[in-house]
């Protein structure tokens, strides 16, 4: 009789199936445990269902929580810290082997990992080389000035949507702020205390949004959302839009979906000219082991996490998805065996490059804000108002910041007396 335990994850579609593959591999490989993997469709429903289930004492043993839910998890007291779990179950893990940029996001102040980095990513810039050539663009867009120029040329060459974007704040605000070394919130984006306040409405981000607004007015940048019928990735793969910013995780899917022979490239996110580029933030999600399960399940969970961390699995995972390897050795091994030189995978190493571009600063360590899902929603609503309904940029962002601060204050009050560890 195998010990069963549950694993909830937030990926769906192609990526979701890859998770199922991983689970199957684990189940096939050993005879002691059986992992039951359930997709909760998306990151936010996973967090939502995990919380509801935890309140009902029906939480899974392992759950996949995205970057934005990190602080919510950390203060919940509802999990078993990664390090403790592995130690308790007799696994030795070289914790220093994780890329520090990645580990920082999920670790305590003392640097101890609470959760296991699993599917890590960062935002990248994708562009259609064929279209660039057709429009006579002979440079790689590394700055926003160049992006604008490229957009104008593409427009002139008859492309209706030179750059497509949506209201996901991850690329637009979080990654932008990181690589431009702009704070999103005070207290080192929240790392130094629950009393952090959002300041994105006073940084370069505002100008950036204004720039986007201008581009949209000139029809150089185009809004592409699910509600409008097509999100950015399909817009890029259907060659409707020639430039997008999206996660490296989509690298695999884009490669598979774009018609054979179409030339495209991935690059680090552009910066404004004259900006000293900083490292970008790690995205994706990590695996949390939930507290309150029977002892037996933790053995299985530890075995599974250990299994995922093996170099073979790490490489397999990075191969079949676009996610980056999370350990230095993993990355080195893949680099060594020429993974990044071959056609479909070429360019993914840039994600690591972006993540590790500089040592982390106050503003690029990560984001440690409570209720960050809500903050994201406030900002993207503001963006929606700005781009769809012509609202004033500064006013909307100010309002979003105010509302987001209220969220932070409520969080602070809710966890009054708790210390960030």
């Amino acid at each position: 009789e195998k010990a069963k335990f549950e694993f909830w994850y937030g990926l769906s579609g192609d990526l979701g199936e890859r998770v199922q593959d991983a689970c199957k591999k684990f189940n096939d490989m050993q005879a002691d445990y059986e992992i039951v993997c359930t997709s909760q469709n998306s990151y936010d429903t996973t967090l939502q269902n995990t919380i509801a289930a935890y309140r009902a004492k029906k939480q899974p043993a392992i759950t996949q929580i995205y970057d934005a839910g990190t602080l919510d998890m950390m203060l919940s007291g509802a999990f078993v810290p990664a390090k403790k779990l592995m130690a308790d179950n007799g696994y030795t893990i070289d914790w220093t082997n994780y890329f520090s940029g990645i580990a920082n996001y999920y670790a305590t102040a003392a640097g101890e990992l609470n959760s296991f980095p699993f599917n890590s990513s960062t935002a990248m810039f994708y562009y259609n080389v064929d279209a660039f050539q057709k429009a006579g663009i002979d440079f790689k867009p590394e700055t926003w000035e160049e992006v604008e120029e490229a957009a104008r040329k593409l427009k002139a060459a008859g492309f209706d949507c030179p750059l497509g974007f949506n209201f996901d704040t991850w690329q637009m605000m979080e990654q932008f702020s990181a690589i431009h070394n702009q704070p999103i919130a005070t207290q080192g984006n929240g790392y130094q205390g629950l009393d952090a306040e959002l300041v994105f409405n006073k940084t370069k981000f505002v100008d950036h949004v204004k720039f986007f607004k201008k581009m949209v007015d000139e029809k150089l940048f185009v809004v592409k959302t699910k509600q409008l019928g097509m999100d950015i990735v399909p817009a890029f793969t259907s060659q409707t839009c020639q430039m997008i910013q999206t996660s490296i995780a989509d690298h695999g899917t884009i490669g598979k979906t774009l018609p054979e022979g179409v030339k495209w490239e991935v690059a680090m996110l552009p910066v404004w000219k004259g900006t000293q580029r900083q490292n970008s933030l790690v995205g994706g999600a990590s695996l949390w082991v939930m507290a309150g399960r029977p002892e037996g399940e933790y053995k299985g969970a530890a075995a599974f996490l250990n299994f995922l961390a093996t170099p073979e699995m790490a490489q397999w995972w990075s191969t079949v998805t676009g996610y980056i390897p999370v350990t230095k050795t993993g990355f080195e091994a893949m680099k060594a065996n020429g993974f990044y030189d071959k056609a479909p995978y070429k360019g993914r190493e840039l994600a690591i490059a972006s993540l590790t571009y500089t040592p982390t600063s106050q503003n690029t360590r990560g984001i440690r804000l409570g209720g960050f899902t809500q903050v994201r929603k406030e900002v993207s609503t503001a963006l929606e108002a700005i781009f769809m309904q012509n609202a004033d940029v500064q006013a909307e962002l100010d309002q979003a910041a105010d509302r987001s601060n209220a969220v932070l204050r409520r969080f602070e009050k809710t966890y009054a007396g708790q210390k960030l560890n």
Partner: protein
């Protein structure tokens, strides 16, 4: 009307009512008490000790312009939904009540949309009224941006109201038709003898006599629009409350705030306000169900 109660046992009624009473206590009152508790504390998402904060949650709710926006959206949604369902239902009921050959078939067909789940209808209408394909694409081709619910809050609101009205018109239709048919034939005949033509009769005799039914439907549709299970489903499956809160009805906001925003306390406060509102509706309805504007 009080029924002449006939059986006298004291334990039998308790036995008969017990299963449902238990369910209701368990799944209605107990949760309702929990809502109360949460509304006056700051409930941590994962549970645990919650600090009592008095009316803070309510203050925050009332101070939030988007909350009032959701109240307004809910009101518009419920009011427009009610008006459309009742008006269209009334016109169709009057038409079918003329009993021309074939009207039986129409009667049969009109009720069918009632069977459809709001979310399923929402999905279908997302296609039917999509700006890029289906019907509206042609219109938009001629008049760019004539119809774009993803962009314009008003359009999105119209979209969800249309879906609601579509589903519920059959329901009001049936009640109104029955109401019309219970208007004694001799009254319309008397009016005919008095010289009134069909339209005149409809306006002077039939519609005024439908007043009780109309009122009943008004209350039912208002509550359905406010908190009916379709309301959430339609909004969730079509617009997700957007664009820019344009279709964020109260129920949607509550669920969103609780489960997405992890703000159980704020959501509970909103729930209580909503429950209070509905209680007022319920009260009105009960007063009128028992003694409606009966003429006789």
């Amino acid at each position: 009307m009080e029924k002449r109660a006939v059986f006298k046992s004291w334990w039998l009624p308790i036995l008969f009512a017990l299963p449902q009473i238990l369910l209701i206590l368990l799944f209605f009152y107990w949760p309702a008490i929990a809502v109360m508790k949460w509304a006056f504390t700051l409930e941590p998402p994962f549970g645990g000790v919650a600090e009592f904060v008095g009316l803070t949650n309510f203050d925050e709710v009332f101070a939030d312009p988007f909350y009032w926006n959701s109240v307004a959206v809910s009101l518009i949604f419920a009011l427009c939904g009610t008006c459309f369902t009742i008006l269209i239902g009334l016109v169709l009921a009057i038409a079918v009540d003329r009993r021309l050959p074939g009207s039986g078939l129409f009667r049969f067909l009109y009720i069918l949309p009632y069977a459809i789940a709001g979310p399923a209808a929402g999905m279908a209408f997302r296609f039917i009224l999509s700006p890029e394909r289906g019907l509206m694409a042609s219109v938009n081709a001629a008049f760019p941006d004539f119809w774009n619910p993803a962009k314009y809050g008003a359009h999105a609101l119209i979209l969800v109201i249309v879906i609601f009205a579509w589903k519920w018109t059959g329901y009001t239709f049936i009640f109104l038709l029955a109401g019309l048919q219970s208007v004694p034939r001799s009254l319309t005949e008397a009016a005919a003898m008095d010289g009134a033509g069909p339209i005149r009769r409809a306006i002077d005799i039939q519609v005024p006599l439908l007043a009780p039914t109309l009122f009943f439907l008004l209350v039912i549709m208002m509550t359905e629009g406010f908190v009916g299970s379709d309301t959430f489903g339609i909004v969730h499956s079509t617009t997700g409350g957007g664009p820019n809160h344009g279709t964020e009805v109260m129920v949607f906001r509550i669920v969103d705030e609780a489960f997405k925003g992890l703000n159980y306390s704020g959501a509970s406060a909103q729930s209580i306000v909503l429950i209070g509102l509905i209680m007022v509706f319920t009260f009105i309805q009960f007063r009128f169900i028992e003694k409606r504007v009966h003429y006789k």
